[in-house]
Structures are given as structure tokens and as C-alpha cells.
């Protein structure tokens, strides 16, 4: 009897220990993942901030007026401190990385000093511009190295916990890509002597205005279904599901979708007026047969067919087997940046795969565009003299405060980079300077 009791107690005990052990194990894993995530976040943030820093430094080079440069430098100061902070969160304590940190604080100090100075009475000296140029170049190199390490980390699923382990056990044998990468960055920095975000296709409007310009009668579900059929261009026998948006929606829409063979379609129609806000058709796209240019012609035809008049191509890019086009509304000679439409075209057969008119419907109206007070020549004077202006036009854009202003747009080159510079056509203020993205090198991933 006693024996059985003991056995039962022991069995229960062993079982309980097992369960407890398993729970501990689960908990430990959860905590490990969380710690890993914190490291990953700091690391990816660091690469991003270096990227941003590089861009901001480059943009500063193309700016001309104090109203633009001071806030920009203040922003650079903020980003360096963020990047510095990111470095601090990485388990690099045992790795010499102090030169890079020094580099960051140098940029920080320089930008702070110049940001708080009255640049009106004491503009950037030639030496300071030179310093900016070197900082820009060096930041670019660091960014490149970090992006490369980042690529390897993502490609090979590398863990920061392993780095920590390798560093703390002084394990020099296993070659650790992350450690090597950071050492390269550090080495490069040693060689140096003293020394907004958003698909910034300015096309899209940075402010999310309410959709105030959607008009027309309310659509019934049946009408919406017909409209959807029309836009999807599908046979009658294909079943389309349709649903109304909930109370949280900013603008009430009907969402329609269908599934046929390998094609899947999704569409948002505004309940008022039945305007197509967004269309997506997903299917496998084969090797390109037509050029980006032909794709653009198809996109143009599509816009005409759906009664979007006076749209002009603004930007086009090929991503693998499809092309993405950005169109802007043009009122007379004036391009209207906030009224943008995006179209995606499959380059295997030229079909329009996707369409988004959100920005357009948020902002579009017939505007009362004032006459420019400045001549083009006046405006050109306001541009940084180092920038070689290549092209110019006039446009309605959104300034930093989200207000629409009329501005001269200059496309210019400084060094290897192209900039878009906006000069307010009424006040002559340098409203915005943008560095335009170049293509990115493919990182060659192999360990």
C-alpha cells in the first residue's frame, strides 16, 4: 500500500517536474526571441538611420537658403543621435566600434553648431561645405557596408544572440559575418581623417486629407457589382463577392473581389459616385515581352478610358516583370503634384494589373491657380549655384506645412546626384529640396 502511494507520488512528481520544465523551456525561448528581436531592431534601425543620414547630408548640399538648411541640419543632428543610440543597444561591447561612434558624434556636433548659428549673417563657409561633402561621402560608404551586412543577415538568417555568444566566449575561430562586417565598417572609418519619408515621389501628398472631392449619387450594391464587373473585365459567369466597409472607414467603399483560375482581383469603389479608388489584379506575370514605354501607352489609354483627363506621366519604373507608373494631373501648364495616380502594368501582355487613385480623389479639384510673381530667371537665382540646372517646369506642390503652393520645379545635378528643387513662385522661398533616388546595387549575397 505504502509502496503504491510512494510510486504515485513519485510519478506525479516526475510528471509535474516535466511540465514545469517544459514551461520553463517555452518561457526561455520566448525571452530569447524577444532579446533577439530587440537586437535586430536596433541593427535594422541603425542601417536605416545611416541611409537617411546619407540622404539628408546630400540634400543639404543642394540647398541654398537658411530657412531650409537650418532645419535640415537640426534633423541631421537628431538622426545621428538616434543612430548613435542604435549602436549603443547592440551587443558590441567587446568589439572595437568606437571610431564609428566618434564619426557619428562628429557629424552631430558639426550639424548642431551650424544649425544654431544664424546662417543669414554667417552662411556656410567654403570649408564647411567641403566638410559636408566629405561627411556625405563617408556616410555613404558606411551606409553601403552596413546595408551589405544587413543583406547577409537577412539572407542567411543570422542571429545577434550568436554574435553575443561569440564575442563573450572570445570565439575567434568561427567566422562570424556580422562581426566581420562591423570590423570592416570600423576599419573604413579609421581611414577617414578628421574631419520624410513616404513614397517621396512628391506625387503623393504627405498629408492625408479627407476625401472631400468625391461626389455623385450613392451606389446600390447591384450597381456596384456591375461597375466591378466592368472594371475587372471578367466574364458574366464569374462570381464576384462584394462587401460594404465598416464604420471606421474614412470614405465608405464597396470592396469587390473575385477568384478565377490563377487570377485574383480586388477592387475598392467609393459608395458615393462609384469612383474606382484602388484596383489590384494578381496573377503570375511572365517574362517581359513589351517595353516599359509600351506599358506606359497602355496605362495612358486606361486612364483615358476611365475618364481621367489631362494626366501626364511623372515617373516610371520597371520592377522585374512589371512597370509602375505615376501620373500627375495637369491644369493648363501647371503640374499638380498632389493629384497623383499610380498604375501597374504587366509587361508580358501589357494588361493593367493595378490602379490607385487615392491621392487623386483626396486632393483633386479645379484650382484657382494664382499667377507667378517671380519669373523663372528670378527663381533660378535662388537655387544653390553649385547645382547645375537641367530642366524646369512649374507645379502646384505641398510645402512642409501641407499647404498647396505654386512653385518652380528645377531638376539639377550636383556631383553624381540629381535633385529636385522647389522655389515658391509667389514668395521666392526655397520650399523643398529632394534628392532623387538612384538605382540600388544588388548586394551579392554569399558567405
Amino acid at each position: 500500500m505504502i509502496r503504491w502511494i510512494i510510486i504515485t507520488v513519485l510519478v506525479v512528481g516526475v510528471g509535474a517536474t516535466g511540465i514545469w520544465g517544459y514551461q520553463e523551456h517555452q518561457e526561455k525561448n520566448a525571452i530569447l526571441i524577444q532579446a533577439e528581436n530587440t537586437y535586430q531592431r536596433a541593427f535594422h534601425d541603425l542601417s536605416y538611420h545611416m541611409d537617411l543620414l546619407h540622404d539628408k547630408l546630400g540634400t543639404t548640399l543642394a540647398m541654398n537658403t537658411r530657412q531650409q538648411i537650418s532645419p535640415q541640419l537640426a534633423d541631421i543632428w537628431r538622426i545621428t543621435s538616434e543612430a548613435h543610440n542604435d549602436v549603443g543597444q547592440l551587443p558590441l561591447a567587446l568589439l572595437p566600434f568606437n571610431k564609428t561612434e566618434e564619426f557619428l558624434s562628429n557629424i552631430g556636433e558639426f550639424s548642431y553648431r551650424t544649425a544654431v548659428r544664424d546662417l543669414e549673417s554667417e552662411p556656410l563657409s567654403e570649408d564647411e561645405v567641403k566638410i559636408l561633402e566629405t561627411l556625405y561621402k563617408q556616410a555613404g560608404e558606411i551606409e553601403n557596408e552596413l546595408r551589405n551586412v544587413q543583406h547577409l543577415v537577412l539572407e542567411n538568417n543570422l542571429r545577434w544572440m550568436d554574435v553575443q555568444l561569440a564575442l563573450s566566449t572570445n570565439d575567434t575561430q568561427s567566422d562570424n559575418t556580422i562581426i566581420d562586417g562591423f570590423k570592416t565598417v570600423e576599419e573604413n572609418v579609421k581611414g577617414y581623417t578628421e574631419g520624410n519619408f513616404g513614397p517621396s515621389l512628391t506625387g503623393t501628398s504627405s498629408e492625408n486629407h479627407p476625401y472631400q472631392f468625391i461626389n455623385g449619387d450613392d451606389l446600390t450594391e447591384k450597381e456596384a457589382l456591375n461597375q466591378a464587373k466592368n472594371l475587372f473585365q471578367v466574364e458574366d459567369d464569374i462570381e464576384i463577392t462584394i462587401a460594404k466597409s465598416g464604420e471606421g472607414a474614412e470614405v465608405p467603399v464597396y470592396s469587390a473581389s473575385y477568384q478565377a483560375d490563377n487570377t485574383h482581383g480586388y477592387l475598392d469603389l467609393s459608395e458615393k459616385g462609384g469612383h474606382p479608388l484602388s484596383l489590384m489584379i494578381n496573377r503570375e506575370v511572365k517574362e517581359p515581352k513589351i517595353s516599359l514605354n509600351e506599358g506606359m501607352e497602355n496605362a495612358k489609354k486606361y486612364l483615358e478610358k476611365h475618364n481621367f483627363d489631362d494626366m501626364e506621366i511623372f515617373q516610371s519604373s520597371q520592377y522585374g516583370n512589371y512597370g509602375v507608373y505615376n501620373f500627375l494631373y495637369k491644369q493648363g501648364d501647371v503640374r499638380v503634384y498632389p493629384d497623383a495616380i499610380q498604375i501597374k502594368v504587366a509587361l508580358d501582355n501589357g494588361e493593367v494589373l493595378a490602379f490607385s487613385s487615392k491621392d487623386y480623389f483626396r486632393n483633386h479639384q479645379e484650382r484657382d491657380i494664382p499667377d507667378a510673381k517671380l519669373t523663372v530667371e528670378d527663381a533660378k537665382e535662388k537655387v544653390n549655384p553649385n547645382v547645375k540646372i537641367q530642366d524646369q517646369n512649374i507645379a502646384v506642390i505641398e510645402n512642409d506645412l501641407g499647404e498647396e503652393v505654386l512653385a518652380y520645379v528645377f531638376l539639377g545635378v550636383l556631383g553624381d546626384d540629381t535633385y529636385r528643387i522647389f522655389i515658391d513662385a509667389i514668395t521666392g522661398i526655397e520650399a523643398k529640396v529632394e534628392k532623387l533616388k538612384n538605382a540600388e546595387l544588388k548586394y551579392k549575397g554569399s558567405v
Partner: protein, 297 residues
């Protein structure tokens, strides 16, 4: 009648000659495909365009096969210098003028690009001197000798040169949406795949759009990585599913979202109504349901 006949004969003759030359020359000196090349394009035509512009000294950038701003200005300068209409498009006339004015050694370029070499292609300098070999490649031995042969385009010998011979060159750069790097895209694709891999395309785009909406929202971190790794923000991050290898559909969804598509109507939260336990999330104003997820403000 007579004229017609002569015309036909002429056509025939031309036809045969072309046919004959085509069969005789293993690789005729071909230039560009039919397409009009415009900014943003990617591919071998762009490589040829950049190489030809560089040969003439208009283009100083890298020959990478992506028609970016550098190529655009180079092309416009070329059009200006040659008295053409300046439109930045490589149409038939422009291409013809380019071909006439410059040389393009397709095999040489292909070889350099496929071997990952750092090279330039200026006219007037021996091209062998313009090559810096890539770090990890040793397929380039005997390059010097080969290039000599390649210049005599019609020698059948070139057929049995190194094995990367004639393989179409892939561009060495890619277009990325402004403000993002391939790595940001990859990280987002990881998150999207972990969170929504069973969902239809719009469901994936929706998750990516929520990430972007959060980056832009003042109440969330300002970086993609900050949003993704924010503690307790995404289940796939908390349980490690984010480290599954994403497929191409996740990547395409991310690109769509970055290029401006947002099927959610500016949502910043979403949840799976079958598994969501928090009553707080049910209280958010709902926008719509896509696939398994409900999106809300």
C-alpha cells in the same frame, strides 16, 4: 509592270543576302531591340545604351542596366549635341544615331558584367585597361586574348570561348521605391510572410500597408524596423515566424504597398477575429475585412 518586277527581284535579292549573312555570321552586329527605352527601364538594352553613351563620353556612371537619372541626363546631352529633339527617350532615331556614332562590344560587356567586374567603357582607351576584376572571380583568365578575337565579330571561333560567353547580361542594380532599400523590402516581406502567408494578394498588401501607415503615424516608431520589432506589435515577430523565408508573392505585395497601394483605407491595426482575445482591439472602429483579417483605425 517593269518597275514592280525589279522591285520584287530587289526585295528577293536583299532577302537572300540578309538570309545568307545571317547564317554565315554566328553573331551579327546587332544593336538594340525594337523597344523605345525610357527612364525607369531595366535590362540589356539599357546596358547597351549606357555603354554606348559612355563610349562617347556622355555617361560617367556605372553600366548597371537600370535607366536612372544619370543615364537620362547623359542621353539628353547626347540628343542636344547631335541636334535632335531632347526628350530623354531612346527612340528609333536616337538609337540609330547612337549606333552610328559609337561602338558596342556586346560580348566584352556581357563578360564583364557576368563576371562581376568593375569596368568602364570609354572610347579611345583600350578596354582591357578599364577593367578592375571583381573580388571573387577567377573565370576571367585569358580574357585579354579573348577580347581580341571578339573584336572580329564574325569569327566562328568565339563560339567556344569561356562558358559565360553570350549569356545575356543581367542588370547589376535594381529599381527601389524612393526612400527604401532592398533590405527594408526584404524585412517587410519577412513580416508580411510571417503574418499573412495564407492570405490572398490584397491581404498581404494590406499587412504591408499597415506597416507603412504605422511608420507615418505619429503614435508609432518612425522606421520600418522599429514598427516591425516593436514589442507585442506583431505575433509573427513574437513567436519567431518572421524568420521563415518569404516567397516572391510577399515581396511583390510589399512593393505594391510601397508604390502606393493601400487596400485597407489607412488602417493602423488589424486582427484575426477567430483568435483575437483582447477586447480592446474589438473596440476599434473597423474599416473592413480582407481575408482572415479585420482592419481598423
Amino acid at each position: 509592270m517593269g518597275i514592280k518586277k525589279t522591285l520584287i527581284i530587289l526585295f528577293l535579292a536583299v532577302g537572300t543576302i540578309t538570309g545568307v549573312t545571317a547564317t554565315h555570321t554566328s553573331k551579327p552586329v546587332e544593336a538594340f531591340s525594337q523597344q523605345i527605352i525610357q527612364q525607369g527601364a531595366v535590362g540589356e538594352d539599357v546596358i547597351e545604351l549606357q555603354a554606348r553613351l559612355q563610349y562617347l563620353g556622355f555617361y560617367n556612371g556605372k553600366i548597371d542596366g537600370v535607366f536612372g537619372w544619370g543615364t537620362y541626363w547623359a542621353l539628353r546631352n547626347f540628343q542636344y549635341e547631335f541636334g535632335m529633339e531632347i526628350d530623354g527617350l531612346a527612340g528609333p532615331t536616337t538609337k540609330q544615331k547612337l549606333v552610328k556614332a559609337s561602338q558596342y562590344d556586346k560580348n566584352f560587356i556581357r563578360q564583364q558584367i557576368n563576371a562581376g567586374n568593375d569596368f568602364t567603357y570609354y572610347g579611345g582607351t583600350p578596354k582591357e585597361n578599364q577593367v578592375k576584376k571583381g573580388k571573387n572571380n577567377n573565370q576571367q583568365q585569358g580574357n585579354q586574348g579573348n577580347t581580341n578575337q571578339q573584336q572580329q565579330q564574325q569569327q566562328p571561333k568565339q563560339e567556344n570561348q569561356g562558358n559565360n560567353e553570350g549569356a545575356p547580361a543581367q542588370p547589376t542594380s535594381v529599381n527601389v521605391p524612393s526612400g527604401y532599400s532592398q533590405n527594408d523590402i526584404q524585412l517587410m516581406a519577412n513580416a508580411v510572410y510571417g503574418e499573412a502567408r495564407g492570405e490572398p494578394h490584397e491581404g498581404k498588401v494590406a499587412v504591408a500597408a499597415v506597416i507603412i501607415n504605422r511608420v507615418e503615424s505619429p503614435t508609432f516608431p518612425n522606421t520600418v524596423s522599429g514598427v516591425i520589432f516593436e514589442p507585442r506589435a506583431f505575433t509573427a515577430v513574437a513567436d519567431g515566424q518572421i524568420w521563415l523565408t518569404p516567397d516572391d508573392t510577399a515581396k511583390e505585395a510589399v512593393l505594391d504597398a510601397l508604390n502606393g497601394w493601400d487596400p485597407t483605407g489607412d488602417a493602423i491595426y488589424y486582427f484575426n477575429p477567430d483568435t483575437a482575445t483582447s477586447s480592446w482591439i474589438w473596440g476599434r472602429p473597423q474599416i473592413k475585412r480582407i481575408g482572415k483579417h479585420v482592419f481598423c483605425m
